[in-house]
């Protein structure tokens, strides 16, 4: 039941956005954060074959079936997280980056992230003055069950709340900021460990950027509809 083929026609020199019929799975093994259950991952493989040519391209992603919800609690004002409907007590670590000269490696990511799991943590917060972390970072968070809070590139110190006060309206080129944000979202969005996008560190991004990010990152209405069998 986990195999599905559809036929499409793509015009010459053309692009199409193809949405597949939803693939039904009965009682899939769910992905859970560290300390709540197993980090079950499925390999989702997409291949495209062209008539009279054969296989043209393929794409594979380890994918975790999970539902992450978070809202601000009216009593405490804190953010409450739920994973697959279960509330979770967040035990998190602060993350800036692997190495100041960006000598990034899978081995270092694996070691650092497994270390966080061994310390019984279940979330890593990527600080806005550092990087949008790399797919290898997220892969090991998927494997070891570390939820990720990923900030965009705004910090209070540099963007309007520092001393001296500077860049009150953030970076000079807002379109460039949003282009980088959208490309980063596409790069990272399929990782089950990605739990929360955050505008910046100790600062709200400029109004236009913040509204655009909230718009881009809302759950698409298509996924809020109840699908009847």
């Amino acid at each position: 039941e986990h195999l599905h083929t559809e036929n499409v026609l793509i015009p010459a020199r053309g692009n199409i956005h193809h949405t597949f019929k939803p693939l039904y799975l009965y009682k899939p093994e769910l992905w859970w954060p560290n300390g709540m259950g197993k980090q079950n991952l499925y390999d989702v493989l997409i291949t495209v074959a062209v008539k009279e040519f054969g296989e043209s391209d393929s794409w594979m992603q380890p994918f975790g079936f999970r539902k992450i919800e978070s809202d601000i609690d009216s009593v405490t004002g804190g953010r409450l997280f739920k994973i697959n409907g279960e509330p979770i007590f967040i035990r998190g670590g602060n993350w800036i980056l692997s190495d100041g000269l960006l000598r990034l490696s899978k081995e270092r990511y694996r070691t650092d992230i497994k270390f966080h799991a061994d310390m019984n943590m279940n979330m890593i917060r990527c600080w806005g003055g550092g990087l949008a972390e790399r797919p290898e970072f997220y892969h090991f968070c998927d494997v070891y069950g570390l939820l990720v809070w990923q900030e965009f590139w705004i910090t209070g110190d540099v963007d309007g709340r520092g001393d001296p006060v500077s860049n009150p309206n953030g970076p000079l080129d807002h379109d460039l900021f949003l282009l980088c944000a959208r490309d980063t979202i596409k790069l990272l969005r399929n990782h089950p460990s990605l739990a929360l996008w955050v505008g910046g560190n100790e600062q709200v991004p400029p109004e236009d950027i913040n509204e655009a990010l909230k718009q881009d990152l809302r759950l698409h209405p298509y996924f809020t509809t109840q699908l009847l069998p």
Partner: protein
């Protein structure tokens, strides 16, 4: 025959300071490719990596994270941006078949760059956190090595580190879309080149006429997680000049213990 799929370009890179290289990108990727040598400005490079990463690899600078060594490394504010504008160069072989297409991918470059491949120039726009995918099918050499050279420019506003230091230095870096810690913070000294470089993976991907771009996977759940749906959207691009009839396949495989797979 070029295998369909992605190949990393992560070895055999050379680098040189732009002010020490007289040739332009066209010559570097045609008549006068870079080479190492006692009088050559070229050195072995760490790609992915930054300019400082390459200089450190070649012991041209001390390790900035030992003692006060960072104080002995020239800051970009004092040297000017050209001092940390570097060439990175490599060669690769790729013999594609008819109706195969080849893309050159940079997953991240800080901060802007011009790419030269076999004498052809392609300008990469600014931004530290964006991917660049270039269709190089028509400029590849089928029977010999392809020569690639990339000149990488630092962020537009590298800023100046005040004598007293401080979180984010003079905050100029905040004018760009780049990592802000590089002007120094309470936990790290300023990074002298502001992390200029090809700091994430470079790859070549070979496809047939149709390629898959940025699929999006979403799972939804019903009946207390008994019933789940996997929603998949993907962009499909037809590079050919004829309509492409395709069949697209999704396969979801659970890897059980001991390497047994459930399809």
């Amino acid at each position: 025959m070029a295998q369909i799929g992605k190949t990393l370009l992560d070895s055999g890179w050379l680098a040189a300071r732009s002010t020490e290289v007289n040739d332009d990108g066209e010559k570097l990727t045609t008549t006068n490719p870079p080479s190492l040598g006692p009088k050559s400005p070229w050195m072995e490079a760490a790609v992915p990596g930054t300019v400082l990463g390459t200089l450190l690899k070649n012991k041209s600078i001390p390790d900035p994270f030992y003692g006060l060594e960072n104080e002995t490394i020239t800051d970009i504010a004092d040297s000017g941006r050209d001092y940390y504008t570097f060439w990175f160069s490599t060669q690769f072989h790729c013999k594609r078949l008819l109706n195969q297409y080849v893309h050159l991918n940079f997953r991240a470059i800080n901060y802007s760059a011009e790419v030269y491949l076999n004498g052809h120039e392609i300008v990469l726009p600014k931004g530290m956190f964006r991917r660049h995918t270039l269709d190089v099918t028509d400029i590849l050499r089928p029977d010999s090595d392809n020569l690639l050279a990339v000149i990488v420019h630092p962020p537009d506003h590298p800023g100046t580190i005040p004598p007293q230091g401080g979180q984010g230095g003079d905050h100029e870096i905040g004018k760009d879309v780049a990592a802000q810690y590089v002007e120094g913070w309470d936990w790290i000294c300023p990074i002298r080149d502001r992390n200029t470089g090809i700091w994430d993976e470079v790859s070549i991907s070979v496809t047939g006429p149709v390629r898959i771009i940025d699929p999006h996977l979403v799972s939804t759940f019903y009946d207390d997680y008994e019933r789940a749906y996997l929603h998949v959207t993907a962009e499909l691009e037809n590079k050919s000049t004829w309509n492409a009839e395709c069949s697209v396949n999704i396969q979801v495989t659970a890897e059980l213990e001991n390497g047994v797979c459930l399809v």
